[in-house]
Every structure is written in structure tokens, then in C-alpha cells.
């Protein structure tokens, strides 16, 4: 219970933010933050708990975005319904890919994950009938969100996105807690620590990793669908590009890998720093990620969370 109290307090406080803050820019920052948290937590399931450093998660992000938008454009299905179809597609493809690539270890798995994402990006680029190619898809005619007969929002302000983003981030955090405390969570962490030992203790390696990947890909695709709806435009490089995957990984590394709080802290640091430096960096905003990851890897390999925990433990021991 004591673990959840701070999270619940933070969630309630955040839910009240739009009562005081009306500035679209401030709300925009919050929405970016929620998106980064959701993506970091999604990657954390397979990268953090299971230690499978996928640098190809843009594939699932892009599938979520494209799935939702293609259904909107072709069949006029609202994205918040369409995204579930997209999630299903992402999970099916992820499991198929996992079945082949999870036999690879260490750096070879990293390379394979990049190759898979590149193949999917190139497919999206070239399958013009379906995806509109490099021109991308612009969200047109997003229907208003109705509940019963009443219109809840017609998406003209940032507030509905704020709550949707907050809900999504909380959902991903909750999934992390559930996974971490479940049998699957133990299995994934055992695999991360020592694959052979895990295997000898009765853990089915591929099945466990694939289950983790499926959950991770589903959350990532959900975030992809949300991002597409919020930004209103997608194109292959923007959603399938390796930069998306790298940002997900680095958010977790900077915050602290394999912990639930890590991606949250990583997201806060990265989003705030990027925004603060946006004016001077403009399109070179990934510089923040580059510099931070170098500092973190060299000085605190367990991320901010690990660094603080280590400090606290030392203090307690002293």
C-alpha cells in the first residue's frame, strides 16, 4: 500500500492541473510528458525487466499510429476504436518477429530488432496504396467523442488530450506494476540476470520473452495511436524511424532501467530539458539525449533511480 500512495497522490494532483493551467503550451508539455512516460514504461517491460534491448520499438509505435489512421481514412472508424485493431496487428507481428529473433542474444538481438523496424518502415514507405507513402496521412474528420448520446469533446482544445494522455500513462505504469509482481515479471527478470540459469529453473525462455514483448508492443502501439491523434499527421520516418526507438530506450536508461519509477523520471528529465533548450537547439534536440546518455552510462549505469537508491542505501548503512 505504501508503494502506491505517492503514485495515487501524483495522479490526483495531475488530474487537477487543467483547473489552474489553461495555457495551451503548458498543457502541450504535459501531454508530451505523458507520451514519453507511456513509451518509456512500454519499453521497460521487455527492455528493463527482461533485458532484451530492442532498438526497434518504433515498429510497434508506427503500427499503432498507422493502423488507427488508415482505419480512420478508409473506413471512417474513430481512432479510439481503430487503435485496438492496430494494437492487435502490432501484437501479432511482434510475436511472429519475437519467435524468430529471440533466439539471438546480446548485440545480435539489438541488430535484428533494428533490421525488423527498418523493414517495416521501408514497407510503409513503399506500400503507397495503403499508407500514402512518404507523403504520410493527415487526420481528417476526426469525429467527436460521444458517450451515450452526448458529445464529450470535439477535440478543439488540449484538455481532452491531456486526460487521455494521463490515463494512458497511468495505464502503462499500472501494467508495469502488475507485470513486475507477477510470475511473468519474475521470469523476465531471471532471464535478464542469467538466461541459462533461468532456463535450468524451469523458465520457458521464448514463451516468456514473447509474452513480455506482446504486452510491451501493445502498450507501445496504444501510445502510437494516441500520438498520431494528437499530432494529427504521420509519415513513415516520423513514426517508424530509429530515432523513435532510441528515444524510448534512452528515457529508460536515463531514469533507471527495470524499475517502474525509472521511465517516469527519465521522461521528466528528458522532456523538460528538451523543451528548455528547444529555442537554442531547434531541430538538434536529440543532442540532449546524446549528452545525457553518455553522462548516465559513465557515471550512473543504473540511471537516476539506481543512483539515488545507492546513495540512500549508503546513508542507511553509515
Amino acid at each position: 500500500m505504501r508503494t502506491f500512495l505517492p503514485w495515487a497522490v501524483a495522479a490526483v494532483a495531475l488530474a487537477l492541473v487543467p483547473l489552474w493551467v489553461q495555457s495551451p503550451y503548458a498543457l502541450h508539455i504535459f501531454i508530451l510528458l505523458f507520451l514519453a512516460i507511456a513509451l518509456g514504461e512500454s519499453w521497460n517491460i521487455i527492455g528493463g525487466f527482461a533485458g532484451q534491448y530492442s532498438v526497434g520499438h518504433s515498429a510497434w509505435y508506427g503500427l499503432g499510429a498507422y493502423g488507427a489512421f488508415i482505419l480512420l481514412q478508409r473506413k471512417a472508424i474513430a481512432p479510439w476504436f481503430g487503435v485496438w485493431v492496430a494494437i492487435a496487428a502490432a501484437v501479432i507481428i511482434a510475436v511472429a518477429v519475437g519467435w524468430i529473433t529471440f533466439r539471438l542474444r546480446g548485440p545480435y538481438f539489438v541488430l535484428a530488432s533494428i533490421a525488423v523496424a527498418e523493414i517495416i518502415r521501408l514497407a510503409a514507405l513503399n506500400w503507397k496504396e495503403l499508407t500514402n507513402g512518404a507523403e504520410g496521412i493527415l487526420a481528417a474528420d476526426v469525429p467527436p467523442l460521444r458517450l451515450g448520446g452526448t458529445v464529450i469533446t470535439d477535440w478543439n482544445s488540449k484538455i481532452p488530450y491531456f486526460y487521455m494522455g494521463l490515463g494512458m500513462a497511468l495505464f502503462c505504469i499500472a501494467v508495469n506494476f502488475l507485470v513486475k509482481r507477477s510470475k511473468l515479471g519474475y521470469y523476465l527478470q531471471a532471464i535478464r540476470e542469467d538466461q541459462d540459469a533461468a532456463h535450468s529453473l524451469g523458465i520457458p525462455l521464448t514463451l516468456s520473452k514473447n509474452t513480455g514483448l506482446a504486452i510491451s508492443a501493445a502498450c507501445t502501439a496504444l501510445a502510437g495511436g494516441f500520438a498520431a491523434l494528437y499530432i494529427g499527421f504521420i509519415e513513415p520516418q516520423g513514426v517508424f524511424g530509429i530515432e523513435v526507438s532510441i528515444q524510448m530506450v534512452l528515457t529508460c536508461i536515463i531514469g533507471g532501467i527495470g524499475t517502474v519509477a525509472g521511465p517516469v523520471i527519465g521522461a521528466v528529465v528528458v522532456v523538460l530539458l528538451s523543451e528548455a533548450l528547444r529555442a537554442s537547439l531547434s531541430s538538434a534536440h536529440l543532442l540532449v539525449y546524446g549528452v545525457l546518455v553518455i553522462i548516465v552510462i559513465l557515471t550512473m549505469p543504473d540511471g537516476f533511480v539506481g543512483f539515488i537508491a545507492h546513495r540512500l542505501r549508503r546513508k542507511a548503512a553509515a
Partner: protein, 243 residues
Amino acid sequence: MTALLEVRNVSRFFGGVTANLDVSFSVDQGVVLGLIGPNGAGKTTLFNCITGFYPPSRGEIFFEGQRINGFPPDKVCRLGMARTWQKVRPLAKLTVLDNTVVGALCHTNSVPEARQIALEQLRVVGLEKRANVLAGGLPIGERKKLELARVMATKPRMILLDEVMGGLNARESEEIIGLILDVKKRGLTQVVIEHDMKAIVRTCDRIVVLNSGEKLAEGSPQQIVNDPRVMAAYLGDSGGAKA
């Protein structure tokens, strides 16, 4: 009564190198079998073949009458045969308790239940006070005990211990011998790889001797100790080029 484990004409080749050649033996329920032999005799390779880390090149392995060749290690473990590692492999960033919980989850889906089983096993090996320490920070003696607790938590019918006394001091070895005898009293079948002959003679009912991958001798501890071929094999080893 059929044997619990039966190894039938097992050979294992790596490229042109023969690690095991035509090894056969069986282990009856409740027996502690010692597997001994000079360095490089193929003891650990045989363990790896039995527990599914690589399939034998030739021959067959039966566990409770079921042919288990080519079964993956996780399946072998769920069937009731668990092994420890010569070079201990703690899950370093998990606590001692969580390491054992991982083993206990082999036969339950409930984490709280697994925790109960794990605590019980930690008490048996005397690690309950260290339950919340990270496994990576344990000294070697406690790591070996953790391996044992973790393996016992999988509720095995048979355990394979790969040099659980290697690198331990006399007092720690004595504790492990006590644990092995304790486990034996509960009727659990064990195969033990060990270098210390005194420990082997004290714990084992039967002994199989491997030399250069082949079975050299099998018999009771008394027979083995008095077997001149066994002596020769060991002397040959210490006289030869040792790495």
C-alpha cells in the same frame, strides 16, 4: 522397479572432439550417486546432456521411464529434475528471496505461495536472515547454499549437483555435506559431481567414474576406492599437463 534416471549409451561430440562416449548408468529412487573423474573427464558435459542444455549426439536418456532426449531445460526441470551450476549463477540484481521464488514458481502460479515455499527452503539451508540481500553481494559459501535452495524450491524428484563444495572451506563443506545427507533422508534422488573423495564416500551410495569421456568403473564407494584403474586415472591426470 524401473530406475528413476537411466542413461543409455550416451555420446556427445563437439566437432571432432569427443566429450562423452557410450556412457551408460542408472540411478534408482532415493540413491545418491557420485559422478567422479579427473578434470576434463566429461562430467559437466554429461550433466548438460541430461538436463537438456544440449542433446546427446547418440544414445538415450530416460527419466521415470520417459525418453527425454532433446527436451529443453525448462521442460526437464518441470518434469522434476533440477541442476546446480559448477560456476554459481545467482540472479545478481534480485534478492536472495526472489532468486528462490523464481525456482518455486516452477510449480505454482501464485507469487505469495511461491514466497512461502522459498522462505521454507531458505530456512533449510540457513539463509533466511539473508533473504533481502541482493544475491550478487553474497560470499561464495552462501552463493552455493542459494543454488541449493533455489533448486530445492522447484520441488524436484531428483537433483544434479555440480561441485557444490568447490571453493568452500572445511566448515562450509561440512554444512553442505549435512544438507546433502538431509535431503537424502527425505528420499530425494541425487547425482553429485565432486572432487573431494572423502565427501563422496560419506554421501554416496554408488559411484560412477568417468575418464576421457568414457565410463571407467561403477560400484559402491568401497569398490571404487580399491579399484586400481581409478587410482591410475587420477595419477595420470595429476602427472599430465594440467591447465
